[in-house]
Symmetry: D2
Subunit: 347 residues, 4 copies
């Protein structure tokens, strides 16, 4: 991996920067471990640094005297980059389901586990529609301390039970390091929510686990930041990682978030990791979920994570964005037709 | 249209607002033309105003003494609302092409008209791929005064000539009132660019024209603001209007803009006007245009406006986001398969 | 506190919604614990719900059949609201410093604790300039796993030692529940970083601690969300809480973040909690820190949290936004003159 | 000005890009007029182009085969840059008032001219408080076609009359090219609103006028785009130009816009043009205007543009953000004390 550690930075000096300024910048670059190539123009000098410094911050160079601007050329991530594994990552699950291969995978279920009856019915409906994973929150991150906070361990047990019964895999959110051990016996995939995308201690711990992880994009995270957070998990040795676009915060208030569909093909290009779409959080309005799910797969998503509830009008959380079971069924039928047009098929 | 003029506003008073404060708010509401319905709770009073005031501003009520918050209930637009024409608007063009009906329409061509040779070749390639409109700028809005500003009248003539030759319709951007008259003989559809979405004088003039208009969403415009701008054109009597999502500005810098695919189904719900997608400006990177075009149609777009150039690497503007002719051809072939899955077909 | 639990919601039905639709909405409101007041207009019906439901989600009502829109009237937070403690919260520290009173307090120091020499020199410079708190990270949240991650416990000890020596108080960031116990003996104030503003488990634990907490606004957090996060800490019984504006993410890339100065007077109006400004993270460029610090105090801030490093060009993190010691000194001198103009004085 | 036309671009090739790819990039750079300096590393090649091309688009290079990324080094604007006139631009008005010098100038008045009585009273109150310009809209850009659109020519005459009477200068908004001639006899300064910041035809015309112009930042405009728009006016020969920060659109909805106070010191660094602040539009809430006005001047603004109305509760537009006369008076008194602390004084 020696090569991927080579880093390049460009420092463009101001027109007529003094030689003293230029020398101070070169000195600092060399100190960090760069070899410096200098292009001296009639009015402007450009310094290109190439080397293997441990870490460096372009912002630091931008404020040095005489500097016009500074640019990091090489990617700040290594293991997440497409070139690390050009053929793409395939995550294999116990029952033979593969995420990241030819097949597009549907993960669905209610926002929260509420009762045995509710989650069993959900599981049956997801399985009947063609879903492969049951989603459902046992631990719920809620903006208000006065909202329903989830069933905890009891919820995990229910998820495992009904999934065994229906042949589904279990994906559910982990919010905190201490929950990892508790969850391991019950789940097939950890989900890291948008609010924890930069909870680096949690990410580091998930790097040491040997269970797949789905990492959601933070509500204001750039694509580069998603890949840097992925790097935390990968650098711990856990390569069974998938990413998930779930909407970003913009000025538009009609939808809960603005789902950045273009992030799907962009991520597919930049990284070897599978990329999912979550239209439920992406838009937050039930009737917009099917069109956005179709759009996600048309744009190249490896799968979908969606909320469906047997009775969304009575859901204890996120009812407004949960599909009716019949909506999910109709949607998956449409997805079966769209997938082949973009060279895929439904799992 | 009497009913659509009925307006409703809610004013929620602060807990324990004084009776004097409440009376002053009621007085101001009545003055504007509202009938006021009062709900007096143990701690909080709610005032609902219903009536037909000429205009009012909720912000004004939010800052009155004793007011907790104020809400406009009814839509601020009338003619653009879906209920004004529930069956949807169909725009019929001379050669029989209809926008807003069952068929999905492709409009394509280079960013700018550069020469007879370039635009003729473009037209042939667009027609061959299955496009129905030739796009191409004669007047170019450029961020820098030092960039190429378009061929003007000469460009309009070229557009008309090659379109006649290839059986295409012409759509091109109008930037200013004085250009309207100049353009009329040469074009089939006016395009209002994102930067002019709130150039109200221009919109008002276009309301008096009897040629179809495509109105692009501004780079920071809310969906409601798009509909209010549409209202300027509709209220002048020009009902041949279509809207176009072309990306909004967010914090993400990897793409030129963030294309808000969800705006397509949202607009289809809120208004009777046809809704187009412009993935070229939406993302600004050639290879992302096809996936975003597929996503737009999967999400319900009535058509696509896209940049294609016979030789994008030599384009005088926007080369980076212009498709190669063969990309357009392949894309339309895929669109032909996707359209029926969402109940449409390609024009 | 009975009154602050009274909640109000407005549901505006669509024009000509059916009586059946209206009855279903009323039923659901009653089920949740609302008393419903109905205003029946010629075309539109408005339902005002008043009551003490445990929790409810307006989004759920927005998607019910026949509903035009739904509005939450009462604030979703209770303990953080200005009306809970109209006179404002004053946080008293061991050495007599008070945050939230008449005095404006300066907290300054390097981004990271790097060595005994560096942090001792920093402390002396902060004290000499008139600062009352020494800031410095022992645990560092870094976007990249390859960046310097802080000195940990060793850093905490150094902070305590040099603060004792210079008469300063210690404020430093807590990133994770397990660090709370470790930090308690060494610090005077916990700092919750922007990335952890919605790490609800961490917030809940900090509610059970008896040490002051400074809670930073998340990079994409609304003002309401800041107050809901504050509620997590307050509802655990820890009232020694201050908030901090530190820049939000927008489309503008010249500055690291866009510092929302207006959030300072807005928060002062909405909550009784002290409000700090962090211009270092707010803009991320050294020379912009002094003007933004002056602006913060002119706009009503109760204090400032800023980065200063004895030798910012050699800092191990955030050097570009760290002031030189002489900049801090000059700034505090200016603050001494500005504070009285807005009715304050420097601590 | 030969030097300022020298432009620099960096193209960083992908690791192991082929020699063929590299040669094609070099060829294209040379074709545009660049001299190319090549740095060949073990894994990566960097190309620095220096020259005087007429125009070029880095986006075009970003999508060429084998290219990792491309960067424009030199500023895309010339005349607006600080280095063009390092001492700063001072705009001199007929009555001796200077904008851009040592003095901080207050411009105030109602959103719209409504009547002789209203505007005369406004002028007297502005003059009494210490303002130097009377602002007031004769032509109003309104989001809705159903809102009050201004008094037009009649409004211009009233502005002139009452200003003559009170010794104030007149600043008012121009929305369209045809209004320029109409306005010239009545006004002292053209104001270009945020919605017209990229109405390039209007800007070009204002470049040919010999009257000062105040150009507002667009609601989603980057700082670089503001300077490019300024370039349109400057390149026409009109150097009496000032810029104005008036709030940008973000996800925060509590305030009407998010006023980017940091844009003031950033612009002061990048350009020689005077920089104003408009806290009325910046936040949109009356009681927040004074703290944001103080913050603007503390951060280095050359002046303020603010809404004040003799009776804001009855204003025909923007009443919610218009100050009461006594608020303006108190504010200017505070400004008199703050200005000297940042090396200025009030005009």
């Amino acid at each position: 991996m020696r090569e991927s550690e080579a880093k390049t930075m460009i420092v463009a000096m101001q027109d007529h920067a003094t030689e003293e300024n230029i020398q101070l910048v070169i000195e600092r670059m060399v100190e960090l471990g760069f070899n410096v190539h200098r292009t001296t123009g009639a009015v402007q000098t450009i310094l290109a640094g190439v080397g293997t410094p441990d870490h460096f911050d372009v912002a630091e160079f931008k404020v040095l005297a005489g500097v016009h601007d500074a640019y990091r050329i090489s990617s700040p991530y290594k293991l997440a980059g497409r070139s690390f594994r050009p053929e793409g990552t395939k995550i294999k699950f116990p029952n033979g389901v593969v995420v990241g291969g030819e097949e597009v995978v549907v993960m669905a279920g209610p926002c929260s586990v509420e009762s045995h009856e509710q989650i069993l019915l959900s599981a049956k409906q997801v399985a009947a529609a063609g879903g492969k994973f049951l989603r459902g929150g046992a631990y719920k991150p809620r903006s208000s301390p006065y909202s329903f906070q989830g069933m905890g361990l009891e919820g995990l047990k229910l998820l495992r039970d009904v999934s065994n019964e229906t042949g589904l895999l279990v994906i559910t959110e982990v919010m905190e390091i201490s929950q990892i051990e508790v969850m391991l016996p019950y789940i097939d995939c950890f989900q890291v929510g948008a609010r924890n995308m930069q909870n680096f201690n949690l990410l580091r711990e998930l790097g040491h686990v040997r269970k797949p992880v789905l990492l959601k994009r933070g509500i204001a995270a750039t694509i580069e930041e998603v890949l840097l957070s992925a790097e935390y998990i990968l650098s711990g040795g856990n390569y069974d990682l998938m990413l998930c676009e779930r909407g970003i915060r913009t000025y538009e208030t009609y939808t809960r978030n603005t789902m950045d569909i273009s992030a799907i093909p962009v991520l597919k290009k930049l990284t070897h990791l599978p990329v999912m779409g979550d239209p439920s959080h992406g838009v937050g309005i039930r009737d917009l979920v099917p069109p956005m799910a179709l759009a996600s797969v048309a744009a190249g998503a490896d799968g979908l994570l969606m909320e469906m509830h047997p009775n969304p009008d009575k859901a204890m959380s996120d009812g407004a964005q949960s599909m009716y079971p019949e909506q999910l069924e109709k949607l998956v039928a449409q997805l079966r037709l769209i997938a082949p047009i973009v060279g895929r098929k439904m799992a």
